[in-house]
């Protein structure tokens, strides 16, 4: 690996850590500012196949299928007094690992794959939810910063063991 790619990988790891921090600290506006205006934000429904046929997720049904406008709506909604699903907010901790950079063009674009484990705890409930999956991200360099332009989150369950996705992946 070239030194340049090592540094870039480090830069994207730090980007993902900062993103996780904003989400875990309930800074949705701060998180939203990391998004590019051409954003595609998807979470396909995972399915059980007979064998190793791929993809083992739906290409026509999603748990999230947002552009920047819909994502903005979700963020605005969370700020109303009626977004009960997250009143009070879940305690979440996003663990990001296995970060791999590809299609990297300095100051232009990059593709980054990573693993994500979300721990979610609500209220006094001693039960917790774990959401595990893989992020397939694409970035565009704009105004001196990297912005997320595409995220496809491949979740590791066909039946999600969490009451809702009022949190982001």
């Amino acid at each position: 690996m070239s030194l340049e790619k090592m540094l870039a990988t480090y830069e994207f790891e730090q980007w993902l850590y900062r993103e996780a921090e904003r989400l875990d600290h309930i800074d949705f506006d701060g998180w939203f500012s990391l998004m590019h205006s051409s954003l595609i934000y998807q979470m396909p429904v995972r399915v059980n196949k007979e064998g190793t046929e791929r993809p083992d997720y739906a290409e026509d049904m999603f748990s999230f299928n947002d552009d920047i406008e819909l994502l903005s709506l979700r963020v605005e909604r969370l700020k109303t007094d009626y977004a009960w699903a997250e009143i009070p907010p879940s305690r979440t901790r996003r663990y990001v690992s296995n970060v791999k950079l590809s299609d990297y063009v300095p100051n232009e674009k990059a593709s980054v794959n990573s693993y994500l484990l979300i721990y979610r705890s609500r209220s006094t409930d001693i039960h917790h939810d774990l959401i595990s999956g893989e992020r397939r991200d694409e970035f565009i360099y704009e105004d001196g910063v990297w912005k997320l332009s595409k995220r496809v989150f491949i979740v590791d369950q066909t039946t999600l063991n969490t009451r809702n996705l009022a949190i982001f992946v």
């Binding site: 739906a58 748990s63 999230f64 009626y82 039960h127």
Partner: protein, 435 residues
């Protein structure tokens, strides 16, 4: 010694428990006890007396459109295979090899004409016939009668593409079970050629299944508060829009709330002639003025047509969802998205995306409901609600008389804020618990 004379469900026989239900579940008086939402004993009796007896939803015919397609589903806690065989016949079979009981199939869906058991290799055709036994002549001689070893066939029937099944051979026909409610299901699923897009969404809520059914069968009242954020965002006209319309119930616990009028046509304009050819004039009139339609087919199949403004454009989506019980305080929600097959691709896509945005695990309507469902179930759990005889009030609208003059069948009230549908749901539930 501390004295106690309180009821204890754990020590009751099944007969005593049902007697206690008859004492405490009083739909006509508008009183429903909390314990029925979380008690393990009620859950067990319910499984035998409700879920093993009634018709239950399985899926939509469009999910297996081609010959030799199959899908895996659940019927009252048992895995079943739904196949479309080479004759185009749709059948249901228990997902169990008749030789030693191994599960035959584990993919959600696929296409194949036969199923081979992973244990000893027994091979079953998708019409249920046993067609192959490895080394048969060698090890069984001529004595094995394969015709007696076909897969266990399940009784299934369809209405407007919606497939239902039952373990109960004595059950009335699906058509009779749905009865007058079919008039409304025509609008939901028979207004045009409908198809399911993609796999159903599946997620777990720590809630009793009845909370979901109760919410969809007649509770439009909660939308003002629980879904207050939606009105704030301008996706629906006002917080009180949900009151306008009719509340309707029919026999066997079925019920719906019909939101009307609607100044806009909620469906693709170019399909008007298809709608007219599939519906009566009266049904089409309901469709043409429909703002939303939300209901529940007893016991646990809820449905929804919802018309909202997304990105400045009005769009409707149609969904059916099953509250599949997996424990007294746990259910799997399985939500299917349905759309007009002949609608324009752009309309289908916008409709799907409005479904995902509003009623899916990430749905901005749905997610607030799940919070409520979870907390209601938790509060109903354990011995205290029996000890303290906690009950819910279901008296809303008891002072009102049904209206005549509405064109559809059933008992009809002229606005949606009533609990007559919930009372009707629990009445049939109680009748089945006694049967």
């Amino acid at each position: 010694m501390i004295k106690t004379t309180t009821k204890n469900l754990e020590e009751m026989t099944q007969k005593e428990t049902i007697g206690y239900l008859n004492e405490t579940v009083q739909p006509e008086a508008g009183s429903i006890p909390a314990f029925i939402l979380a008690d393990p004993k009620i859950y067990d009796i319910e499984h035998k007396k409700v879920f093993m007896k009634t018709w239950l939803f399985i899926g939509h015919e469009s999910e297996i459109p081609n010959k030799n397609d199959y899908m895996l589903r659940d019927l009252a806690g048992y895995s079943i295979i739904i196949t479309r065989d080479s004759e185009n016949e749709i059948s249901g079979f228990y997902n169990m090899c008749t030789h030693r009981g191994m599960k035959l199939c584990r993919a959600d869906k696929g296409n194949k004409s036969s199923f081979v058991c992973p244990y000893h290799g027994f091979n079953f055709k998708n019409n249920g016939d046993l067609i192959g036994v490895p080394l048969q002549k060698d090890i069984y001689g001529t004595d094995l009668d394969k015709s007696k070893l076909g897969l266990h066939k399940i009784r299934i029937e369809s209405y407007k593409g919606l497939i239902f099944g039952t373990w109960n051979e004595e059950a009335e026909s699906l058509s009779d079970f749905l009865g007058d409610f079919k008039w409304y299901l025509d609008i939901l699923a028979g207004r045009a050629e409908m198809e399911v897009v993609g796999p159903p969404q599946r997620f777990i809520i720590h809630s009793n299944w009845k909370v979901g059914a109760d919410n969809f069968v007649g509770d439009s009242y909660h939308t003002m508060v629980t879904h207050g954020s939606i009105a704030k965002l301008g996706m629906v006209p006002s917080a009180t829009y949900s009151k306008k319309g009719y509340q309707i119930h029919t026999m066997n616990g079925h019920g719906l709330n019909l939101g009307t009028p609607n100044p806009d046509f909620a469906f693709p304009e170019e399909l008007k002639s298809e709608y007219k050819s599939n519906l009566t004039d009266e049904q089409y009139d309901v469709l043409a003025n429909l703002k939303n339609m939300i209901g529940n087919i007893f016991p646990n199949l809820s449905f929804l047509i919802s018309h909202t403004k997304v990105k400045g454009q009005l769009i409707s989506n149609t969904t059916v969802r099953m509250w599949r019980p997996i424990g007294p305080d746990k259910m799997e929600v399985i939500a299917w998205f349905l759309v007009e097959k002949n609608a324009a691709e752009d309309w289908k896509k916008r409709s799907r995306d409005s479904f995902i945005l509003t009623f899916s695990p990430s749905g901005i309507f749905e997610q607030d409901d799940t919070e409520v469902f979870t907390d209601i179930t938790a509060a109903a759990s354990g011995p205290m609600p029996v000890m303290k005889e906690l009950v819910y009030n279901y008296t809303m609208g008891m002072h009102r008389e049904p209206v005549s003059g509405f064109n559809g069948p059933g008992v009809v009230y002229d606005d949606k804020f009533s609990e007559a549908n919930q009372r009707n749901f629990y009445r049939y539930w109680l009748d089945l618990m006694n049967a």
